[in-house]
Each structure stands twice: as C-alpha cells, then as structure tokens.
C-alpha cells in the first residue's frame, strides 16, 4: 500500500519532476537507498534554507561572544536575529568572561554603491566600528549572496582586522547560493572552526572525564539541560558546539577526551576532523528521548570505563527517571497510539522518533530538510556517496594529526570491547534502521508532498517548522515546530521529555479543535417558526 501511496503522491508531477523526486522517497522495508543532498527543483516549494542559514544561522549564530558581521544587504542579518531560540547568557569561567551578543544583529547593510564599487571598504569600516563599540574577543564575517559575485575579499578583511585592529577575526564565505541547502553552510562553518578556533586555546580540562558536546544548539535550553545532566554525573563539559557556547571555550575543545555528537549532520565534519587532527573519538548520542538519554550517559561511562563514574551515572539516571515517572506515565496514557509525521532539519527527524516512541507514538512519515545519505542510511554509505557539481563546490578540508596535541585515549582492544557493549565509536547509524517497515521517508519534503501525505496518512501530529506549521494547523491537525519547539522547551534529557509530553497533550487536547465545525454546518437547517423571512 505504501508504494501505491507514494505513487499517488508523485502522480501529479510532470515526468521530469517525477523522475527527480521519486528516489527521494523511500518506503522502509522496501527500499534501502535514498537520494539526498541534491538540488531542489526551481518552483517546487521547499522548506529548505540556504548556505548562509546553515553557516551563520545554525552553527555560528549561537557562539555568544563572537561579534558576527553579516556582510550583505540588510535582510539576511535581520532574519537571523533572535529567531532561532539558541539560548545563551554571558558567563564567567575560570575568571574569564564570555560576553553574549545574541541580542544584537550586525550588518553592513550594503547599498547599491557597495554592490557597484565593492563593499570591502564598508566592511572594514564596520569592523572598525564593532571593535570600537563592543571590543569583542573575536569578530566573524559572514558573506551573503552578492558578496561572492562582486568579489569582496572578506578573508583579506579578516586578516586586516587581526593585523590592524588587533582583534581575532574569521571570515566565512557562506553565500546563499552555495550548495543545495543549509548543509553547505554547516560544512563551511565547520572548516573554519577547525582552521581558526579549535586548538588555539590552552586551558586544560580539570578532569579526565572531559567531553565536548557537538551539534547541540541549546534550542529552548536543551544544551543547558544536557550540560546539567553530564555535570551531575561527574562529566566535565569543555565546550558546546555551539548552543550557549563561546569562542572562549571552543578554542580549548581539542583538550577534551571525548566528543559527543548530537546533531550529526551539522557538525560531523568537526567531529571527524578532530578525530583526525587530535585523535579524539566521538560517540553519536541522542539526548532527546528518555531511554536514549540514559543510553547516551551510559555510553559516556563505558567510554571512560571508570566504575565510580558508571555508578554515579546509574544513580543519576535512576533519580531522574523516578522524578519523571508519574508525568511520563500520565502523558503516555494520553498519547499512546497516536501517530506522527516529522519533517525537520538534519537529525531531529530521527531523534524525536525515539522520544515519541517513549510516549507510545508511532512515526508514519519522516524526512530531513538538508540531510545527506549517511543521515538516513548510516555512515557506512559515505564512501559510496557520489559528489556532484554542487557538493564539489564546498571545500572538503583535509587535516593532519597535530603533532603537539594528537593522542589516543583508548587502545584498540578497549575500542573493540566498547563495540561489543554496543558503544559504536565514530559512527552514526542513520534514521532508517530505527523505523518500522512501511513507514515513509521523504527527503526534502516539499509543500505539495506535505499536503498530499498529510491528507492520506492523517497523522495526529505534524512536527515541522514555522513555514508549514499553519498548513497542517489549518487542516485541523496539531502541528508543532521542531526547529524552535514553538517557544517551549527544553525537550532534551529526562525533564525535557516531560515538557515535550506536556506540550503534545496540551496541543492534542486543547478544546478549540472541537469548535472547528460550526454547529449550523453539522445540524440540518432547522425550520424557523415564523417571522424574519421577509
């Protein structure tokens, strides 16, 4: 049936579009390979954003102490201002303060003359002004579409800032037209972080059980929840990439002993390159979901192998679990048996299936906005992914082991043992493996397909973003934004799961749904007695 369903949805496409879209749709259990990370067809209403959104919006935006100048016309900076709910606040760590500039939006607001005569001069002046006013520890420059075309050398400007203004500066050529989605921007951001930030600090962690949390953007306070949990367990968090994170901390991240990767898609380049350059292993974790959070914590314990630590972790898990047990069981009673469709980013469509399962909700449709095949099928397919014109344009950075900082934490034997225990190092299994046969996976789900699938699959909840939220809602279907959590959260960790359960129950049981149909629409028109009919 699901194959028929797919065909039904694809049916209205012209041959050309049909051919393009078909391999992006997979029925679990029937197909195993998906096409992903390819261009969206012009005119097809996609939910995707651009390279700039991935670079500035996702990866760099949360770095609270970086003064990020968006070089371009005003819009791109404006849209990324305060809209993504990566929370942060200034803090002091070992007497070093990290400012928080997230309430600020900086732009060169390029005008026609800058386009015609070049914008470097204005960018320099803007850098001068930002340094004068804010005295930031680091300036970052992100370029938008026209900058690449007119050839402003933002890299040279960054160097000038360092030499002439004495402030650390990094440039990011993340023009919106690069690549096929936000994903290109993640990669560009990752490359520059490896080049210019990671490894430039020298603050040693205080303990052996030190980790970086990668791909955690602290949406709705998720990152804080994760940090709190790790700290409770006795694990030191050196840095977070990049939610609530800071240049102050990121620069020391190479001194941690383990990387935990939450959002695989956006940060796997950093994890990979840190492995190559510094020898740091990474584990794919999922702090979204009750069981998965427990597993993530246990995996960390197993990695470090310390019995004391493992005991502490078990205590924390037991304590957290018992604190939420009543709530979870109540929400479960209200949610069990519901179905969901998820269409989000590059990892959440997978992560949230796990949490949904904790509440007895089955996922019938899932898709990523900007994932690659490995996010669906697992990293084992990476060697077989063909590069195309679009992906070739994004620099693939090659790093070498850092002679000073490269070290190996575990022996090969220990690694093998870990593997036996189910802790896979430097590996992500992808979304496919966890899904039920017959469920639909759809890459770069577009508006047309969304409408069709929702109509046919009738999930109880559609998890997506602001752009399609109201399409579902107007259809009388609960829709929750999984990019921004609809201004709620945290959803990560144990307590986050309760928040999530609460929000779903609230959404599904809110009385307003029952009022959609006016009574005069359902009750047959009643004959009046008299009068009023003149």
């Amino acid at each position: 049936m699901s194959e028929g369903l797919k065909e039904k949805v694809l049916d209205k496409y012209s041959a050309r579009v049909y051919k393009n879209r078909k391999p992006h749709l997979v029925t679990v259990g029937e197909e195993t390979e998906i096409t992903a990370n390819t261009r969206t067809i012009p005119g097809i209403i996609t939910q995707r954003g651009c390279c700039y959104a991935g670079c500035k919006g996702v990866v760099l935006g949360p770095i609270k102490d970086a003064a990020i100048i968006v070089h371009g016309p005003i819009g791109c900076s404006y849209y990324a201002w305060g809209t993504r709910r990566h929370k942060a606040e200034s803090d002091i760590r070992d007497n070093e303060e990290a400012d928080c500039y997230l309430e600020y939006c900086f732009s060169t607001d390029m005008q026609e003359a800058d386009i015609v005569f070049g914008g470097e001069k204005k960018l320099k002046q803007a850098a001068q002004e930002i340094v004068d006013i804010f005295k930031p520890k680091i300036v970052m420059i992100c370029s938008t579409c026209p900058v690449g075309l007119i050839g402003d050398d933002i890299n040279a400007v960054a160097k000038w800032i360092e030499s002439d203004l004495g402030t650390k500066a990094i440039s990011f050529s993340c023009e919106g037209y690069k690549g096929v989605s936000q994903s290109a921007g993640h990669h560009i951001a990752n490359n520059q972080l490896i080049r210019y930030v990671i490894g430039t600090g020298d603050k040693e962690p205080k303990t052996k059980y030190s980790v970086n949390v990668l791909g955690e953007y602290n949406i709705g306070g998720d990152g804080w929840e994760v940090e709190k949990l790790l700290k409770r367990c006795g694990v030191e968090v050196v840095s977070v990439f990049t939610g609530g994170g800071s240049y102050r901390d990121l620069k020391n991240s190479h001194l941690a002993n383990l990387n935990l990767v939450q959002c695989h898609r956006s940060i796997n380049y950093v994890a990979d390159m840190m492995k190559d350059k510094y020898g740091i292993d990474w584990i794919k974790v999922n702090f979204v979901g009750i069981e998965s959070t427990a597993k993530a914590l246990r995996d960390v314990g197993e990695y470090f192998g310390d019995e004391q630590l493992k005991k502490r972790i078990e205590e924390v898990i037991a304590d957290e679990m018992s604190a939420i047990a009543d709530d979870v069981s109540y929400y479960n009673s209200k949610l069990k048996g519901k179905t969901a469709a998820l269409y989000v980013g590059g990892s959440r469509a997978h992560h949230y299936q796990v949490l949904l399962k904790d509440f007895g909700i089955e996922t019938v449709l899932a898709g990523y906005e900007f994932a690659h095949r490995d996010d669906y099928e697992g990293r084992e397919v990476i060697p077989s992914i063909k590069t195309d014109a679009d992906s070739k344009n994004i620099e693939s950075l090659e790093v070498e082991a850092d002679p000073k900082h490269y070290r190996v934490f575990l022996t090969d034997e220990q690694k093998a043992e870990l593997d036996n225990k189910g802790v896979k190092l430097n590996y992500y299994e992808g979304m496919f493996k966890g899904m039920n046969d017959g469920s639909i996976i759809c890459d770069d789900l577009n508006h047309f397909e969304t409408e069709e699938f929702l109509r046919v699959l009738k999930p109880d909840i559609f998890f997506s973003g602001i752009k399609d939220k109201f399409v579902a809602q107007k259809s009388g279907m609960l829709s929750r934004q999984l990019h921004s959590y609809d201004y709620s959260g945290p959803y990560a960790g144990f307590k986050g799961a309760v928040n999530f359960g609460h929000d779903l129950v609230m959404g599904l049981y809110t009385p307003a749904w029952s009022y959609i149909r006016a009574p005069w629409k359902s009750i047959p028109s009643i004959e009046g007695t008299l009068g009023g009919a003149e």
């Binding site: 969206t40 067809i41 012009p42 005119g43 097809i44 209403i45 939910q47 954003g49 651009c50 390279c51 700039y52 959104a53 371009g72 016309p73 005003i74 819009g75 404006y78 849209y79 201002w81 809209t83 200034s90 500039y101 309430e103 600020y104 939006c105 900086f106 732009s107 060169t108 390029m110 005008q111 026609e112 204005k122 960018l123 002046q125 803007a126 006013i133 938008t144 579409c145 026209p146 690449g148 075309l149 919106g176 037209y177 690069k178 096929v180 989605s181 014109a389 508006h447 047309f448 973003g465 602001i466 752009k467 939220k469 109201f470 579902a472 809602q473 107007k474 259809s475 009388g476 959609i516």
Partner: protein, 454 residues
C-alpha cells in the same frame, strides 16, 4: 538586556546594529499575497523565500506561500533565466495559481537577470499570468519592495479601455488584514465603489475551517487590477509607500491621483473620509460620524494619562508617521521618531507635524537603527515605546512599556486581525496606549499611590 549598548552615541558610517527594516523581497512577497490566487515567487537562492515566509508567518500566524528559483552556484554564474522558466512550469503544473508574481533578489539583481525578457520568452498557460518587479535588496527596504510589487501589478495588468468603471482605485499601502477590512468598511459606508490593491484580508486573517486552502478567497482579483486603468481616480494611502504606485497607474493609464497619509488618528482619517466624500458626493453616514465622535470622546477622557508622555516610535515610515500624528493628537510628545527605511519625505513630514503641534527637540530619523534609538533613550528616557517586536529588548532594558504596532509583531497574536486605521483603529491605538501607561502606573507606583478609581 542589551548590556553592551553604551550611552554615548557614536557616529557610525558602516555598521548597522539592530536594524529597523528588512529587505525588499519580503515586502514584495507580502504585497503579492494580497492578489487573488497569486503565488509570490522569489527569483534568487532558496534561502531568501524561506526567510521571508518565516518572517511573514511569524507576524500573521498563518500559512504564507512562496516559491523560489532555487539558484545554485551555476545559476549565479550563468544567470537564472532557465531556473525561472522551469519554476514557472512547475508552479503552474503543481500549485495552479492564476498568477505568479516574481520579485528579484540581491542575487539575481547583481547578476543582472532581465526578468522582463525572461517572462516574455516563457510559455505561459492560457488564462494564467506572470508578472514581475525588481526588488534589489540593497536599495530601500521591505516597504520599497511592497511598493514595487504593487506597481509591478499595475504595470503588467492595468489597462485603459476608455470606458470608466466609476470606481476609485485605492492603494492602501502596507497594512494588516484588519486595516484592509476597515478601509473596505468605510468605503462601503461612504458608498464609494472601489478597487483596492493589494488586499490581504481573507488571505492572512482567514478562519479556521479544518481545510487548508492554498489560495483563500481573499485578495484583489486580476480583473480588478486590470480595471484600475478605468478608474475615475486613484487614492494613495501612505505617501511614501503608495504614491509611486499611483504614479505608475497615472503613467500607464492616465488616472489622476490623490496621495494622503495613512488614515491613522483623527486628522488623517478625516482626510480620508473627506476624500471619499468628494468622490461619492454622499453625506457622511451617522455610523461613521458616531465612531469619530466616540474616538474624540475617548481622547478627551484619557488625556490626563497621555498628555505630555514622551514616546519613542519606530517602524515603517508611513505607519510611524500615522502613529506619530495620533500620539500628537493625544497630547503626547513623540521624542524619537525612527524608521529604518530610507526616504526624505519621512523627516519632512514628521517635522511638519511637530511644528504644527509645537513640539521641539524631537529626533526624527530615517535610515536609522534600533541601536541608535536605544542610545538616544539612554540619554533622555521616554515613558513608552511604540513599534514592532524588535524593540522589546530595549523596552525591557529600560523598564518601560512597549505598545506593539506596525510591522513585524512576531511575539503576539491576534493583532493582525485588528485595524489601526480609521476611527476604529484610533480606538484600538488609544486603548493600547492608555492601558500600557495605566498598567505601568499600577505596577510601578508606590503602594500608597495605587488608585482604585482612575
């Protein structure tokens, strides 16, 4: 909040901090949503329309559709003509709009795509339309983009048949659906036959029906836009936003126009009503006169709370001018009057108002940003701020109330259903302003000064 904003105002030449505007395409997209069965199309990389849809959805809490030419690096080198043609074909195939309204982006503008030619070369299905306007993001603001899209519709579609349709053509400028409804209500009351472009009521303030409609029933129809050329005259509301479209119509079809400020507050709404009366020759009906009198009554009633209160107003030029006028009518002192959109009319118009009301020492500035406004406020505080959501951090930092009006308001609900224009809109503005002032008094005064009667 905003702890790094220093009190001393530093002259900046290049860096914009916390802008009070966004880029043209967002406005063009919004304008196009006010045309019946129209799909707005962004000719650029796909991130643009993603941002614009987000932005507008956050304000309206309603679905906002728009397609993209989805430029790649290749299109950026070789031009986006084929992208647009492919897009148009796919759009008509799949989404079946009656019209595609294309706007450009900084990307396609920098490349120099000639949209007119590309569209001419297109194979457009019978009974379908593709129009365009140029909206380079590096000029003007979202307001400019709105204007350009409205003019684009006129330039493409309006035509003069030689037979008058007896109507008034109304360019309402940038408003909320609630505003557009209020215009229609007033014109109906004044017995003025009209066509209004655009009109997002019924599109972005739709009812929950349990059924999603990609093209709700609202919006100006193509036939109406075509007919604008046969209107007796046109009326541009909001001089900066709407006059250029009236000029376009005059150029194309010879329709004379009148440009007046947005009908916000008493004087400007009076101007609107008088203009309508001049058109219809009808007496102003009792219900309009009553609304006006009710508003004046409220204004007299509340003057002890509004008189002399200092206010910072920011947002889009015509809206800010309308709010400023109303604040002056309430006896308030518009201390800072700020728009991010460039344009010389703004300052001149605001200064004329200040002079009329005898207000001195106000700072009026176009092309300004909210960082600058905040610095001004740190040097001489105000009692209240009026504008969109982006001022909320300033309001919290300075511990004063923010009254949300204008665009965008992305942290509140329902507002877009409600008018700020007309006498009814004046009532809403008056209530929002005076409640904010009174709430502040109630919560900030000493306990012994809490008043039961106010």
């Amino acid at each position: 909040m905003l702890n790094y904003t220093p009190k001393e105002v530093v002259e900046r030449e290049a860096l914009k901090i916390n802008p009070c505007k966004t880029c043209q395409p967002a406005g063009a997209l919004y304008a196009a949503l006010g045309v019946n069965r129209c799909l707005p199309h962004s000719h650029g990389s796909q991130g643009c329309v993603a941002f614009h849809r987000m932005f507008l959805t956050r304000h309206f809490k309603e679905p906002v559709m728009g397609s993209s030419s989805s430029f790649t690096e290749g299109s950026s080198v070789f031009g986006g003509g084929s992208n647009l043609k492919t897009a148009a074909k796919n759009i008509f195939d799949l989404y079946d709009p009656r019209i595609i309204a294309v706007h450009t982006t900084c990307l396609s503008e920098t490349i120099g795509d000639d949209l007119g030619s590309i569209i001419t070369e297109m194979d457009i299905p019978e009974g379908k339309y593709v129009v365009h306007c140029n909206t380079p993001s590096y000029k003007g603001s979202h307001v400019t983009g709105f204007t350009n899209m409205v003019s684009g519709f006129v330039n493409y579609l309006s035509r003069k048949t030689g037979t008058s349709n007896g109507k008034l053509c109304v360019f309402p400028g940038w408003g909320n659906p609630g505003d557009y409804r209020e215009y229609k209500k007033l014109m109906k009351a004044m017995k003025v036959p009209f066509s209004m472009l655009p009109d997002t009521s019924g599109v972005l303030d739709g009812a929950m029906t349990g059924k999603y409609e990609m093209y709700p029933d609202g919006g100006t129809t193509i036939e109406e836009i075509e007919g604008l050329g046969d209107c007796i005259s046109s009326l541009a509301l909001g001089i900066q936003t709407s006059e250029p479209s009236a000029v376009a119509l005059k150029k194309k079809c010879g329709v004379d126009y009148n440009a007046i400020p947005l009908p916000m507050g008493i004087e400007n709404t009076d101007k609107f009503i008088m203009t309508l009366q001049q058109f219809s020759k009808e007496d102003v009906p009792f219900e309009v006169e009553e609304e006006r009198g009710q508003l004046v009554d409220m204004m007299v009633d509340i003057h002890p709370y509004t008189y002399g209160k200092k206010v910072a107003i920011y947002g889009d030029p015509d809206t800010v001018l309308g709010i400023t006028q109303f604040c002056l009518e309430l006896g308030m002192i518009p201390k800072y009057v700020i728009t991010g959109t460039p344009g010389v009319q703004f300052k001149a118009a605001a200064e004329a108002m200040m002079e009329k009301f005898g207000i001195e020492d106000s700072v009026i500035k176009a092309e300004a940003d909210l960082f600058y406004l905040h610095q001004l406020m740190k040097n001489e505080p105000v009692d209240i701020m009026i504008g969109g959501t982006h001022g909320k951090h300033i309001a919290r930092a300075e511990g004063i109330p923010l009254v949300r009006m204008g665009f965008p308001v992305i942290d509140r609900y329902i507002h877009s259903y409600m008018p700020l224009v007309g006498y009814k809109g004046g009532m809403r503005m008056a209530e929002l302003i005076v409640n904010a002032i009174m709430d502040y008094q109630d919560s900030h005064c000493e306990e012994k000064d809490v008043e039961m009667v106010m």
